[in-house]
């Protein structure tokens, strides 16, 4: 199966077929995480959000365009009154669906309903392992118990569930405890500590909350072991990536994101370039977007940089750091330096 997915991805990449996608159903949320990259977009208002019918129309059009594996996200998708209507239609489209949620709005009734038409997986983000951590990071202590309750309801109803955690200053002390929760339920654990800027305010309110590049690459070596390679390989890798194109990933090639306004963007980091599938049709919007992605300027500051092999740089990330697709971000450069250093240390 893994080989199948790899060959499908390769074919989709080469042919420009949007097999992966994300649908941002809302920016509203019952929590208010300090580092949230969506917070502030739409200022919590629902009046510009698309209707359920519009989302379903977009889902169908994306499916017709070749979408296969898609996720529903937000904000908190479960906050929408019409979530069930959207979801029930999506689960009949022939997509592999993943639901992203903070888990706090899952009650007995919702879990039961979901268990009858389950997604491929629910990804719950846990933001800590105590009331205090949730209070400090997400603005609600009670949310910890609600998230744990939601998790248990999903499991009781046999819904495939994975645990994500997003590690920042306010919850780093709970990291092991969150991992233990995931392990104790025997669930796949997907930690992340790479924090990008907010789509509206950039890194202004995020900089203090995210870990420093040094911390990021030192606090969980076990998780990074997949990146281990020999010193010789390390040197080879460096040479290979130094002239990589600006957009190096799947976004705008075989993967897309539709934000809460119904705009088609390369991924969840981008506010622009965008096209509007509800106006011009999904296929044309996708073709236009693919073209626009090729027009994103090259990374002038990164030309020939040997650290590129270890660097999470991309135009989207840089835009949120600096306000320019090809700006210079000390934070991103440091991430690359620290990763290289970490890999050297492991190599010793």
């Amino acid at each position: 199966m893994k080989e199948f997915h790899q060959s499908l991805q390769k074919a989709a990449f080469e042919k420009g077929i949007p097999v992966y996608g994300g649908f941002e159903l809302t920016t509203r949320c019952n929590l208010s995480c300090r580092m949230c990259y969506v917070k502030g977009a739409g200022a919590g208002k629902s009046n510009h959000e698309l209707t359920a019918n519009q989302w379903v129309e977009l889902g169908r059009a994306a499916r017709d365009g070749g979408a296969l594996a898609v996720f529903l996200t937000g904000g908190e998708p479960l906050i929408r009154d019409d979530f069930k209507e959207i979801y029930e239609a999506f689960c009949r489209l022939g997509l592999r669906l993943t639901l992203f949620t903070n888990g706090t709005l899952i009650n007995e009734e919702l879990a039961k309903w979901l268990s009858q038409i389950p997604p491929a997986a629910v990804d719950i983000t846990l933001y800590g392992a105590s009331e205090t951590t949730y209070r400090n990071l997400c603005g609600s202590g009670e949310a910890f118990h609600k998230a744990m309750g939601g998790l248990e309801l999903l499991l009781k109803n046999n819904i495939t569930t994975r645990i994500k955690t997003t590690v920042v200053r306010s919850n780093v002390h709970d990291y092991q405890a969150v991992q233990t929760i995931a392990l104790s339920y025997g669930l796949e654990f997907l930690p992340s500590n790479l924090i990008h800027g907010n789509r509206i305010t950039g890194i202004k309110n995020i900089n203090d909350e995210r870990l420093s590049p040094g911390e990021i690459y030192s606090f969980d070596l076990a998780n990074l072991e997949q990146g281990v390679c020999s010193p010789i390989d390390l040197e080879n890798i460096k040479g290979q990536y130094k002239d990589s194109p600006a957009m190096f990933c799947l976004a705008g090639k075989c993967s897309f994101f539709i934000n809460w306004l119904g705009r088609l963007v390369p991924c969840n980091l981008f506010e622009k370039p965008y096209t509007v599938p509800l106006d011009v049709g999904f296929k044309q919007a996708w073709d236009l977007l693919r073209h626009q992605v090729t027009q994103i300027p090259g990374l002038e500051n990164c030309k020939g940089c040997e650290l590129r092999a270890f660097c999470p740089v991309c135009p989207g990330r840089l835009y949120l750091e600096t306000g320019k697709f090809d700006g210079h971000s000390e934070y991103v450069c440091l991430l690359a330096k620290e990763k290289e250093r970490m890999m050297r240390n492991i190599n010793l």
Binding site: M1, L8, A11, G66, L68, G94, Q116, I117, A120, N158
Partner: protein, 88 residues
């Protein structure tokens, strides 16, 4: 023989695959990959057909001899049966 309800056959980027819909995900949470002939047979089996009919359709569509076609059909339908993908 007939394929159970709530599966969707799709062709994406040159690959044939089958995705479970709605409640079908309860007992089948994954995807099925098919060869081109597999997809051809699947499509017929969505409406329902017996071994002989499948063999005949294969002979009409593809340049194969009957022995090979029959072997292919039997192999394919037993795999479907094993995967509990056929209606009783």
């Amino acid at each position: 023989m007939k394929i159970k309800q709530n599966f969707m056959l799709r062709e994406i980027a040159g690959s044939w695959l089958v995705v479970p819909l709605g409640e079908r995900v309860v007992d089948f949470n994954g995807i099925i990959t098919l060869s081109e002939t597999g997809a051809f047979l699947w499509e017929i089996l969505e409406k329902g057909a017996g071994v002989d009919e499948l063999v005949n359709q294969l002979l009409l569509e593809y340049d194969v001899d009957e022995t090979t076609a029959r072997a292919d059909v039997v192999e394919f339908t037993s795999a479907l049966e094993e995967g509990a993908l056929l209606e009783l």
